[in-house]
Amino acid sequence: MKKILLVLFLSVFYNSISAQVKFEAQTERSSYGLNERIQLVFSINNEGDNFVPPKFPGFKAEGPFINKGNQTSITIVNGRVTQKREISTQIIYYLTPTKKGTFTIGAASIEFDETIYKSAPIKITITDPIQMPTYPGQQPTNVNYGEGIHLVAEMSTKNPYVNEPVTVIYKLYFEPRSIVGNFRNFKAPKYNDFWSQYIDMKQLRAERGKYNGKDFSMVVLRKVILYPLEAGAKTIEPFKIDLDAEVPTGRRDWFGEYEMRVIQKSLSTGMQTINVKPLPENGKPEGFTGAVGKFDFVVKPSKTSLKAGESLDLEVSVSGKGNLKLFTLPKPVVPSALEMYDPAHTENVQTPVTGMTGKISDKYTIIPQFKGKYTIKPMEFSYYDLASKSYKTITSKEITIDVAEGDGTFVANTPSANKQAIQKKEVFQFNKLKTEFISASKKDFLGSGLFYSLLFAPLLLIPIVMIARKQKEAKDADVVGNRVRNNNRLVKKYLSEAKKQMGDKVPFYMAMEKALHNFLKAKLHIETVEMSKDNIIELLQQRNASEISISQFMELMNDCEFARYAPATETAMHNDFDRAIEIITELEKQLK
C-alpha cells in the first residue's frame, strides 16, 4: 500500500507540472525472480475510458484492479491561495512469471476526451527464483509443494481411422496422503475437427491407481468420446484445471502429525497430437457416406398391398455400433407415381465410453397415386468394418408394392398437370392376340426410283400427248401433201389393177373401166345393171357434183371404151391414168 501511495504521489506530482493527460505503465523494478509477483500499474492522470490491456506473454495475470484517486491541493503563495483538484485512475495487474527470460509488455491504450493515449512498452527480465526474505513466524515457502499431483489425458488410441471412436479419459493422480478439492476453472479444449461427446462424472471418486510405477490416488475427472472428422495430424488442446490441494509440508507438528498446507495449483495436460488415418480408398463402395463401425441395415414397408390414395410407411434404418450420428442414410428411389414425402428422422443412440450404439431411422410416408404394381429399388448401405478392416455393403431386398384401385376421391383431387391422368376405368390392357407381321427391313418407297418414275410418268405424258396432237394437226394442215396422200389412197383403192396392166392396152383399159365402175358403185350405191350414162349423170348431179367434173368423168369413160378398139400409145395410157386419178379425186371431194 505504501508503494501505491508513492506512485500516486509521484503521478500527482508529475501531473501538477505537466498539467496534461499522461498515461504510462510502471513496475517497481525491471528484474524479478521467477517466484516473485510483479505489480504492473497503468496510470492516467484523469478519467479514462475503453482501457485495452496489452498481452502478457510469459506471465499469468490477475486483474485488473482499478483505483480511482481524487486529490485536492491547496497552495498558498504570497498570501494567494490556489486550489487544484486532481483526478487520477490506476489500473493494476499482478503478474506471476511462468518462465525465465526477458519479456516485453506491449502498449496499453486508453481513451480520454476522444483521444487515445498509449503507454510505452516495458521490459521485464525474469531471473532464477530468488530467496525470499524470511520473516519470523512465517513458514518458509516450499516451491516443491504439490509436485505429486498430475493431470493426465489417457487416449484409447493415438492412431485411429477417420470416424473411429477415440476415448479420452482425464485423470488426476495425487499422492495418497494429499487431499484435493475445490476444482474450478475447468478449461476443456474445443476439439476442433472432432465430433465430441462428454460423459460427465456424476461423482468424483478417488480410486487407487499407478502412475509411473508408483502408487497414487486417482480421480477420473471427465470422459470424452471423439470421432475424428478428417484425416491428418490433429492437435488436441490441453485440458486445464485449477484446484486446491492440501499437501504435506514434510514437517511434523507438535503432535507428530504431518503438517499439511493448502496450496493452489494450476494443472494442464499439455498439447497432444492424434494422427488420424484416412479410410482406405481401395474398395471404397460408391454409396459410402462415411459410416464406420458395425451395422445392420433394414428397409421395411409397413404394408405392400394397398389402395391408391392410402399411405404406407417405409422405414430405412441402421442399427449397430459406430458413428451413427455422423452419416446420412441412403434415400429410397421410388417411381414417380408413388408420392414420397420428406422423412421423419429418429435417433435412438446411446453414447457409452466405447462409442455410439443404437439405431437411427428415416421414416418415409408414401402415397401411391394410381393403380399398378410398383417396385422400390434395392437400397445399398456401405460401412467400414473396423474389426475386419474392410468395407461391407448391405443390400436391401427389392420391395414390390401392389396398388389396387382407390375410391378415386384422392386421385381426382390431385392436380397433376404433367401426368396423363388415367381415367378411372382405364385398366392395363391385355396382349394383342392377332397381328400381321412385316419385315423389319422394309425399304422406303419415298425417294426410290419407282416413286420418281411413277410420279413423273403422268406428268411427262402430258407434253407427249400435246406433241402428238400438234403433229397430227400439222399433218392435217398440209394441203399438197394431203392431196398426194389422198390420191395415192384412191389409186390404191380403185386403180391398182389398172396400174399393174400399164403398157398392155386391152387389159389396161378394161381395168380402167372396171375401176371407174367400182368408184361409182362405191360412191353412188348403184349396181352395174343400172349404169346407163343418163342414170349416172343424174345421180351425180343429185349428189352435187360439178358439171365440169361430170362431163370430164363421162368423157373419160367414153375414152376408155373407145381406146380398147383404137390404137393407143404408152403416153396416152399414162395420160388417161392421170386423168382418172384427177377426176376420181375431184369427185371424191365433191361427193362427200
Binding site: 428411389v333 410398383y374 404433367n418 396382349n431 427391313s441 419415298l446 416413286f451 411413277l454 410420279l455 400427248v465
Partner: protein
C-alpha cells in the same frame, strides 16, 4: 419357261406363307404363356419372332407387356415406344405406356410444341411418308386424266371443268410431295431413346469433368440430337439439352 417362272413364284409365296404361319404359331404360344402368367417364357417366344426380322406394333406391345409384368421399367417403355412408332394411334399401347411410365422414377415436365411448326407437324403426321408418296403418285395420274379430259374435251364446259381439276391436282401433287419429304425429315429427326442405366448424370459438355445438369433414372424418354465419341446430346421433354453417356440409353429406332 413361263411355267417355270410361275412355279418359282408359287414356291416363293408358299414359303412366305409357311414362315408367316410359324411366326403366327409362336405368337399364339407366347400369348398362351402370358395368360398363364409365365411372363419369362412368353417374352422368349415373342422375342424369337422379333429376332427373325419380323415386326409389328402388336408384337412389340406384347413384349412390353411381358416386361411390365416382370417389373422391368426401361425395356417395357422401350418396347411400348417401338410399338407406337409402328402404330401411333393405338389406344391400348398408349394406355399401357402410361402405366409403365408411372413405374419410372423421373417425372419430367412435358413442354408442348406450339405455333406454326406444331400445325405443320400435325398435318404431315396424318400419314406415313410412304403413304404420302403413294398419294402423290395417285394424284399425278389423276392430273394426267384430267389434263386429257381438258385437252380433248369438245365443249367449253368440259374443258373448264377438267382444267380446274387439273390445276387442283397439280397443287395436290405439290402438297403431298412436300408433306412426304417434310414428314420424312421429321421422322428422321425424331429419335427417341429410353434411359436403360439405373441412374445416369447428364453433363453440360461431352466430358466427365463437366458440370452436372440433371440425373436421370431408368425408363426416362429422351430425344437424341447429336453424337460425339462416347456421348450423345439429348433433349428432355422439358426441352433441357445435355450430354449423356452413350451406353446409358437405347434408341427406339435402332435395330435389335
Amino acid at each position: 419357261m413361263k411355267n417355270k417362272i410361275i412355279l418359282f413364284f408359287l414356291f416363293l409365296v408358299s414359303f412366305a406363307n409357311a414362315s408367316e404361319s410359324i411366326d403366327a404359331t409362336t405368337f399364339k404360344k407366347g400369348n398362351d404363356l402370358y395368360n398363364k402368367g409365365d411372363y419369362e417364357q412368353a417374352l422368349k417366344s415373342f422375342e424369337s419372332i422379333a429376332n427373325q426380322g419380323n415386326e409389328s406394333a402388336d408384337l412389340y406391345f406384347n413384349i412390353a407387356n411381358c416386361y411390365y409384368k416382370l417389373g422391368k421399367v426401361a425395356p417395357s417403355i422401350y418396347n411400348y415406344e417401338k410399338a407406337l412408332l409402328l402404330n401411333p394411334d393405338d389406344e391400348a399401347i398408349q394406355t399401357n405406356l402410361s402405366f409403365a411410365q408411372k413405374m419410372a422414377i423421373d417425372d419430367i415436365k412435358i413442354l408442348p410444341e406450339v405455333g406454326f411448326k406444331k400445325m405443320v407437324k400435325e398435318f404431315t403426321s396424318t400419314f406415313h411418308y410412304d403413304t404420302w408418296a403413294w398419294l402423290a403418285v395417285f394424284i399425278a395420274f389423276l392430273s394426267l386424266l384430267s389434263f386429257l379430259g381438258y385437252y380433248f374435251g369438245n365443249t367449253v364446259f368440259l374443258k373448264r371443268t377438267f382444267f380446274s381439276l387439273f390445276l387442283l391436282f397439280l397443287v395436290g401433287i405439290g402438297v403431298t410431295i412436300f408433306s412426304a419429304f417434310l414428314q420424312k425429315k421429321f421422322d428422321t429427326n425424331y429419335n427417341p431413346a429410353i434411359v436403360f442405366a439405373e441412374s445416369t448424370t447428364l453433363k453440360a459438355e461431352p466430358k466427365n469433368s463437366s458440370e452436372d445438369v440433371v440425373t436421370l433414372h431408368e425408363g426416362t424418354k429422351v430425344f437424341v440430337l447429336e453424337e460425339l465419341g462416347n456421348w450423345k446430346q439429348v433433349e428432355l421433354t422439358d426441352k433441357t439439352k445435355a450430354w449423356i453417356d452413350k451406353e446409358a440409353i437405347k434408341e427406339v429406332k435402332a435395330k435389335n
